[in-house]
């Protein structure tokens, strides 16, 4: 293990992802059927049946990381899609419609064998209907009815009491759609779904997520931040894309061990830590240096992002032997728990308390309404809980409008206010 530089597991995670991406690219080039899916869909079905998955939001971040987002957003306007439409979920579509394979990462993606999205936002079916028309791939579209009320403390009830919490009718619908999806994937892959193997796989996922819960607790309780969110995120998200696999579970164990070691040694990323911050929203993929920009001058660290604590709260659903039902319970309100009141605001206040947060930086996506709803409740409740708050309006992939100077100035002001408390 290095000193309070990078964790050795971080390099391992990135290396795995590179190797996986290379292998995936090879599979796709060889014509292996794959699924192109949104993040809040039951990936477990595809993984369990050995069908490679490309996640829309991951591919969007790849395009953004290649500094191509500006080009494609300009192309979107040329195609007739106005500038206020969502970008994070649509960047890959625009790249595909653009058709210039020389510009796209990997020379572009081949047509998927199947598409999968959930109607958790008003535009998802429109975006994926475009995909389906463009690629000829069938679209497995999941409906997204909402519960009659968003009952409080979802993270406490959802692990065991999910049948009552999410509602039998909604779970019946989700499970029926999952079963339809299984039938489609069986046809596409020529493989039969193995319920017993699936159960074992779901148990492995649970093991992985509970490890992340341990890590979250350790980081929250540590006197000073042992691991930056810029390292937390890849050590969580990369295994999450491969959740339940031997590598992912083993990596989670390694991650926990290194974090535990750091905590035991009192290791801190910022020895003069004075202010703990939380980043609320999706990752700022095109400016990750932002997360460390306040350490030297202010001793202000970003201790929290949603990815680590959401691993357990969002994914653990004790199956009680009914693994498809548990999967339905995992997916049925996956995104909504992060963005709808009171679910989002209650959870974030709890997280802020657990992590002893002084300042919350809230990313308000300019053109991604589903991710921006509920923000005002979040801000109000965090302030009522004694947390200073800064709101930054930006877009997760649209670097054109990101004003780093103004964002840094806003956070700096917030830090100064937090220090005065």
């Amino acid at each position: 293990m290095t000193s309070h530089g990078h964790l050795s597991v971080s390099a391992q995670a990135l290396a795995f992802q590179r190797d996986w991406a290379k292998s995936l690219r090879g599979d796709l080039a060889n014509g292996t059927p794959y699924a192109f899916v949104n993040a809040d869909t039951p990936h477990e079905v595809f993984h369990a049946m050995g069908m490679p998955v490309v996640v829309n939001q991951w591919w969007s971040s790849v395009i953004a990381a290649k500094q191509q987002s500006t080009h494609y957003l300009d192309r979107a306007a040329e195609m007739g899609f106005h500038d206020a439409l969502a970008k994070y979920s649509a960047l890959p579509l625009i790249a595909a419609l653009d058709g210039d394979t020389d510009r796209q990462p990997w020379g572009g993606l081949p047509d998927p064998a199947i598409l999968c999205a959930r109607q958790s936002a008003d535009d998802h079916q429109r975006i994926f209907q475009h995909w389906s028309r463009h690629t000829g791939a069938p679209l497995a579209l999941f409906h997204a009815p909402a519960p009659p009320r968003n009952a409080p403390e979802w993270w406490a009830r959802a692990r065991d009491d999910w049948e009552a919490f999410y509602g039998t009718a909604r779970l019946d619908l989700m499970q029926a759609q999952i079963q339809d999806l299984i039938a489609q994937v069986e046809t596409l892959t020529g493989r039969d779904f193995d319920p017993k193997a699936f159960g074992a796989y779901m148990e492995r996922i649970e093991e992985q997520e509970l490890i992340y819960e341990d890590v979250s607790h350790m980081i929250a309780a540590a006197e000073r931040l042992p691991v930056r969110i810029s390292e937390q995120i890849p050590n969580v998200m990369i295994p999450q894309w491969h959740r339940g696999s031997d590598w992912a579970v083993a990596h989670a164990h390694r991650f926990r061990a290194e974090v535990a070691d750091r905590v035991a040694q009192g290791s801190a990323v910022c020895p003069n830590e004075r202010v703990r911050m939380m980043w609320i929203g999706a990752g700022l993929w095109f400016d990750t240096k932002f997360y460390t920009a306040f350490e030297r001058e202010f001793g202000a660290v970003f201790a929290w992002s949603m990815y680590l604590p959401f691993a357990a709260d969002g994914y653990v659903r004790h199956a009680k032997g009914d693994y498809l039902r548990a999967l339905a319970a995992r997916v049925v309100s996956m995104n909504e728990q992060l963005h709808q009141p009171p679910w989002a605001n209650e959870w974030l206040v709890k997280q802020a308390r657990d992590y002893r947060i002084d300042l919350a930086v809230v990313l308000v996506p300019e053109n991604d309404r589903p991710s921006g709803y509920g923000t005002r409740f979040i801000v109000e409740d965090l302030r009522a809980a004694g947390v200073e708050v800064v709101e930054i309006t930006a877009d997760m992939v649209d670097a054109r409008k990101w004003n780093s100077h103004s964002a840094m100035a806003a956070v700096t002001d917030g830090i100064k206010r937090a220090v005065q408390h």
Binding site: A84, A86, D123, L139, H143, A169, R369
Partner: protein, 326 residues
């Protein structure tokens, strides 16, 4: 006890089959209600924001219950915000009971039982609000809406008048205004289709009436089809068959609009969206292409407010007269 419905494409036929008549409260604007205004993001769908302000201001207290249609754009957020305001004590004590109706506009082995369970749940919630099903006292709005649609397509009634009459039906579904065709005047060219985000008033419609014949109004097409059906089977079938439903899971809008433009001899398509649109804009290229294939003109008015005032339509008027009027 009065029941309100919020959302585009209210399933009046289904409500009738359930034994209820529902007043559409979707369209009216509202000034901000200060105690809750700070909680409503500027990008909130404007109709959603309006219903929240009206709820908090007590304007809807005459309703025993307010049904939010999940599949109307933004409506689920309006519902959860309303519930959160209620939880925080920001709604009046006699605000209507808030009910979410997750009616999925598709017929399938998965969706059908779910829709049945939703119907049962909504009925139970209405019972809790002391709203009991009863035989209809007046005709359901579907027939009146269909008559209006035909009259508008035939040029017998102006686009603005048709909009205002539909709004009157929405305000009071118990009244089915008879459509009185005006004195016989030949409909003028061009025949216009107004497509995109629904409006809250008829200001743009009135402007288009000056240019030509506003024969097709997408908002009306959606409203008419969603309201159809006089029993459970036909009313539910009407939902899955409605190609104009905002969140229609099946990719049918483009083909349907294409057929409509041709069958209705549309000569000019007028497209517009709300300032914070994140839904209809995905269909703009399809509509443009369909217009071109049909030999119809296509003009994109861009982002317009939902309750446009004549004064703010000045630039629109200039553009329409310059590019469209014959």
């Amino acid at each position: 006890m009065d029941i309100g419905g919020f959302g585009f494409g209210l399933p009046h036929g289904l409500f009738g089959a359930m034994g209820f008549q529902v007043t559409d409260v979707t369209l009216p604007p509202s000034p901000p209600h200060p105690p809750i205004a700070d909680f409503i993001e500027p990008f909130m769908d404007p109709f959603c924001a309006s219903v929240l302000h009206r709820l908090a201001a007590g304007t809807l207290n005459h309703l025993a219950a307010l049904i939010f249609m999940r599949e109307s754009p933004g409506a689920v957020h309006a519902f959860h915000y309303a519930c959160e305001f209620e939880r925080r004590g920001a709604l009046p004590a006699d605000a209507p009971r808030l009910i979410l109706f997750n009616l999925i506009p598709v017929a399938s082995s998965a969706a059908d039982p779910f829709n049945q369970s939703e119907i049962a749940r909504v009925k139970a919630e209405l019972a809790q609000a002391e709203c009991a099903p009863s035989p209809p006292k007046h005709p359901a709005p579907a027939t009146a809406l269909q008559s209006l649609e035909l009259a508008q397509a035939d040029g017998q009634i102006s686009g603005a008048d048709a909009f205002d009459l539909r709004a009157a039906i929405a305000d009071s579904p118990f009244i089915s205004p008879a459509v009185q065709p005006p004195a016989s005047t030949p409909p003028k060219s061009p025949r216009i289709a107004l497509l995109g985000t629904p409006f809250g008033n008829s200001a743009l419609h009135g402007l288009l009436d000056q240019i030509g014949t506003l024969a097709i109004d997408q908002q009306a097409l959606d409203q008419t089809r969603a309201a159809a059906g006089d029993d459970f089977q036909t009313a539910l079938a009407a939902q899955s068959a409605n190609p104009y439903a905002a969140r229609q899971p099946c990719d049918v809008f483009a083909d349907t609009i294409s057929e409509t433009i041709i069958s209705q001899s549309i000569e000019q398509v007028v497209w517009q969206v709300d300032t914070h649109d994140d839904l209809w804009g995905w269909l703009a290229p399809d509509v443009r292409a369909a217009s071109k294939r049909a030999g119809a003109g296509f003009i994109d008015l861009g982002h317009l407010p939902r309750w446009p005032k004549e004064a703010c339509l000045t630039h629109v008027k200039e553009r329409l007269f310059a590019e469209v009027a014959q």
